[in-house]
């Protein structure tokens, strides 16, 4: 592959959002998520040809991504799409669309694993953000995932720890629900945690062997604690909300950091890259900074728009696979349970 100017379209439709992104070599030119505005820009909502939201969104979102990147679809070198894991009905929309577009334009089709993409988002060229050297440990923390992966090269990854029940984002959101905060509650807990005392209340950390996580028991512990306290004082939550949030956040971050410490000890790897929506949490960011001081870690957090579900991360994987000539055939099928 000697070509200098590679343009790739990435399409992501694994869960709630339909998203598209155009990458030029390693640099993102556009990163679009479907919203009502996109329909307006396209000239109104695409008629109800189909009931499913992704089917209504995909044409306008791709149109918008190309327009923002200021290129025509004829300039594309390949189409990358999320093959899995995710919701089958949602994946099928992106897969079918990507196949048709690649076939129509007669350019390569590239299938992308959504979980690998969360990790490879660190390799997007972005001013002020450094890229981790191999090998490194990637921790993906979000509403749906809690995973530690050993990354030896772009495509040699090994899951060394993951949640056996709830994801960490869910621990935040459901604790918030117990406290009467809106769903999702992660950002609100983070905001209040800054105003409270993290050691005001003590929650037991779950005991899980090795590098796996468990947050289901933690959620139940918060529930029982609140029920007990509210029985004694009906105003308990209102009077202590900041302290409760700080204590919950302190415990959850402690669980994550304990496992990271164990993972660095077991692997001898001290480069740690964080991804997923929970990486926006200010407490986890501070704890990682402290880890740089205390344990000699080097930590990496990508730009926020590349950490949640997005198409830029699909586009960067498309680019990396394009360089290797790793293409999919037209008979590729979506896989709801795709593993790393």
């Amino acid at each position: 592959m000697k070509e200098q100017n590679i343009y790739i379209l990435g399409i992501e439709s694994s869960c709630d959002d339909t998203a598209a992104s155009v990458i030029h070599n390693g640099k993102i030119l556009s990163n679009v998520v479907a919203t009502q505005k996109i329909h307006e820009a396209f000239g109104g909502v695409v008629p109800e040809l189909a009931s499913r939201a992704h089917q209504q969104n995909i044409v306008p979102v791709v149109h918008q991504a190309l327009k923002k990147a200021n290129i025509s679809k004829e300039q594309l070198h390949a189409i990358a799409f999320t093959r899995g894991p995710g919701l089958m009905g949602s994946l099928l929309v992106g897969t079918s669309f990507a196949k048709s577009l690649a076939y129509g334009l007669d350019i390569p089709l590239i299938d992308v694993n959504h979980m690998q993409a969360h990790i490879l988002a660190h390799f997007i060229d972005e001013d002020g953000f450094k890229k981790p050297p191999f090998p490194f440990l990637a921790m993906t923390i979000s509403g749906g995932h809690t995973q530690i992966v050993r990354v030896d090269s772009y495509f040699k990854m090994t899951v060394i720890g993951e949640t056996i029940d709830d994801a960490v984002g869910e621990a935040f959101d459901k604790s918030g629900k117990i406290l009467g905060l809106g769903y999702p509650a992660g950002p609100e807990i983070d905001r209040r945690a800054k105003l409270g005392n993290p050691k005001a209340f003590k929650f037991t950390k779950p005991k899980v062997d090795g590098l796996n996580f468990s947050f289901s028991g933690f959620k139940t512990a918060v529930l029982y604690f609140i029920q007990r306290e509210v029985k004694a004082n009906p105003n308990f939550i209102a009077e202590n909300l900041n302290d409760i949030c700080a204590s919950i956040q302190y415990t959850i971050i402690g669980i994550l950091i304990d496992k990271l410490k164990l993972a660095t000890k077991e692997t001898g790897i001290t480069h740690i890259a964080i991804g997923g929506g929970v990486s926006a949490n200010s407490g986890i960011r501070q704890a990682l900074k402290d880890g740089e001081q205390k344990f000699d870690w080097t930590t990496y957090v990508p730009k926020f728009e590349f950490t949640t579900d997005n198409a830029a991360m699909i586009a960067i994987v498309g680019y990396l696979k394009y360089l290797e000539g790793d293409f999919a055939l037209q008979d590729v099928v979506a896989s709801a349970r795709l593993k790393i």
């Binding site: 869960c15 499913r52 995710g86 919701l87 089958m88 009905g89 056996i164 029940d165 959101d173 289901s216």
Partner: protein
């Protein structure tokens, strides 16, 4: 069927539930923290799947393998209306003839056939749960 059980009895309860079930679609009702996912973990294992069962609150559905069929494990906690369920293809799953296990099924009640197994879980004490199968 009406049983009170503690966490260490969950595997036996799961087996009993399978032998009493009259449908392959199981609806799990009960408050947060009552142990729905924990019981479903045991249930999936008792059905013979070796897959790790985790919470589908964000993913909406997790799929697990059996020899010749699948288990679809739903959590509809975070969806807001029936439209969203239609959007991800809930009907395809309900009509699939595979095992379909649903936590927080309230929102899709209007499109259920009425033949599903209904499991109600409630908290008896901190360590005891009550299960009611209809």
């Amino acid at each position: 069927m009406n049983i009170t059980y503690s966490i260490d009895q969950v595997e036996a309860v799961a087996k009993q539930l399978i032998s009493s079930a009259t449908s392959k679609t199981l609806l799990f009702y009960g408050d947060m923290g009552v142990g729905k996912t924990t019981l479903i973990k045991a249930l999936v294992k008792a059905l013979g799947s070796l897959d790790n069962v985790s919470s589908p609150t964000f993913s909406l559905v997790n799929e697990y393998d059996l020899d010749n069929e699948n288990i679809y494990h739903f959590d509809l906690y975070r969806i807001n209306d029936l439209e969203e369920a239609y959007n991800f293809g809930i009907e395809d799953y309900l009509d699939s003839n595979h095992w379909v296990i649903i936590e927080w099924p309230q929102i899709i009640e209007p499109i259920l056939s009425g033949d599903e197994c209904i499991i109600n879980l409630s908290i008896e004490s901190e360590n005891k749960r009550q299960l009611l199968l209809k």
